[in-house]
Subunit: 329 residues, 2 copies
């Protein structure tokens, strides 16, 4: 389907069609309607590759993330989409599935298509990305731990604090032997584990036996298994900070099966504040990350850069909050 | 960053760089290494817009889905990625968030970038897409209910049967007043509800009061709420077929709170066989959809079409299976 086919059907020259698509106001309203209807009916696709070659962007924002397939990404996605909805930009995502060696390739693939901008929503390793980021023809904005590279167009939070604070919270509720359980860890979850360890040391309660992990996705099934292993290793463990809410749900279920009373004899704190966490029995104490806001703000920051508007803040700390619920006393 | 900058740094002509990137075997191994290292260090991006304009595809497969943000999509995604991993193609996703009016725009956006192919993983409405599909310059493969358009390059299942079968299963276990609960419904979930109604009619047990829904995402919180409403309306309801496992988890939790014995006095069947469903107490009976296989096969089908290989089957029924677990007697 070519422009000339559309022109033939409408009965005007191809240049008229082309101009009408670019600047609708230069043709009469009647002709505009005929052209748009014909374009739709014939399924004509303007060649955006030509536009990209001519030096303009291709009208999309690319988003690269290691965890497009995990529930915790959903909130970020909705925030990004909501901010870009009323603009002229579409959104396309790619997923590295936590493989650091795929990040540079996917960023290159986006950049080769001349996007309006790119959002890197968590990277495993910035080392291979920095030359690409520095030389990119479009703005690149980041969602990441605030201690990480790069320094500009960043929205995120301090993941070390997001591990230390819930540990201190559990200590403040009188739990003493607090375990840590995690599945396969990216750089942000490793920072949270370091935060947990720092808080335990600070309280004089650090014990390496209390932290247990597995190189597998952090699922409900893994949560049940890890609590079982932790209880065998440290029978007097009296609380758990779980790396995510799926693991925490598994811990809660396993406590139920074993007759361990939550929150009286055992405290549970999850991470992410997923939708189900408010509705379990007891409901799960967890750490809320303002994912929607993070997505919305990073998209807004990117938009300003694309439009050459002043960026406002260049590095935004969106913070986190502990949501105390029924699984802690 | 241009090709000539790389050439200058290496000390050869731009055409040598260009040829070495396209056909590495025509330059010496030493020179190849120098070129590749320099390209990496300088963050050079070959201009794929030029390639797309020259009539070749841009090296990516686009995937459009209404539910990129839902956990049930994860399995499809991993299947698609696994099939395409060892190929030269990258994968990019876009999300319509169940808005039918965004589908044509997103498909156009992909097609304008000249992808190698597109996968439409569930569409709300094919009516607006058919002209685009018929005129597309690249192959388009589909994941959908098998009763829907289009007819070619389709992998999916019969969602009507996937609603009728679990209802018959609950009847076969002696439950009699079987309710249906659902959140906001796309075309496939509406087909499953029709399947539920057909099976209930067939058994002479149809009662419109037994089916209850809400125009909201099918979450655990909604599951608890809908069971509460259903019990108020039909106090002798003795089982529920829930449109997804998140809703089923909510029903299970609400039964626990009310002291309703599962599975003795009340049966629960979910849908999707999400990861947590095997690990609740009791574990959830559910309908397993081979999502990974569906993703893998649709990507394989698309690849064959991109490479002009024989398609094999043109329409594949991947089926479904009921997984009986502890929430049904």
């Amino acid at each position: 389907m070519k422009l000339s086919d559309v022109a033939k059907r409408v009965g005007v020259s191809p240049i008229t069609i082309s101009r009408a698509l670019r600047n609708p106001e230069i043709v009469s309203e009647d002709l505009r309607e005929v052209i748009l209807r014909t374009v739709d009916e014939m399924g004509y696709i303007p060649n955006l590759a030509a536009r990209a070659l001519a030096g303009r962007h291709n009208g999309t924002v690319g988003v690269i993330t290691p965890a497009l397939h995990r529930p915790a990404f959903a909130g970020l996605m909705i925030g990004i989409e909501d901010r870009l909805r009323a603009t002229e930009f579409g959104v396309q995502y790619s997923n590295t599935l936590h493989h650091a060696d795929r990040e540079a390739g996917q960023l290159k693939s986006f950049l080769m298509q001349k996007p309006a901008g790119v959002i890197i929503a968590g990277a495993e390793s910035y080392d291979d990305l920095l030359p690409l980021i520095e030389n990119a023809a479009c703005p690149i904005a980041h969602i990441t731990d605030l201690s990480q590279e790069p320094e500009r167009l960043v929205v995120g939070l301090d993941h070390h604090a997001a591990g230390a604070e819930p540990t201190r919270f559990l200590l403040s509720r009188g739990y003493q032997r607090i375990g840590f359980i995690g599945g396969s860890m990216d750089i942000r979850s490793r920072r949270r584990r370091e935060g947990y360890e720092a808080a335990m040391r600070e309280a004089g309660r650090f014990d390496p036996d209390l932290a247990i992990g597995a190189d597998a996705p952090g699922t409900t099934g893994l949560g049940r298994e890890l609590l079982t292993r932790l209880l065998a290793r440290v029978p007097d463990v009296d609380a758990v900070f779980a790396q995510n809410d799926e693991l925490a749900l598994g811990v809660l279920i396993e406590c139920g099966v074993r007759g361990i009373r939550v929150p009286e004899d055992f405290g549970i704190c999850g991470f992410n504040d997923l939708e189900f966490s408010a509705f379990t029995e007891p409901s799960l104490t967890t750490v809320h990350i303002p994912r929607y806001d993070i997505g919305y703000r990073v998209a807004d920051m990117l938009l300003r850069a694309v439009r050459d508007e002043p960026p406002g803040e260049d590095k935004v700390d969106c913070g986190f909050s502990i949501i105390p619920r029924g699984s802690t006393r």
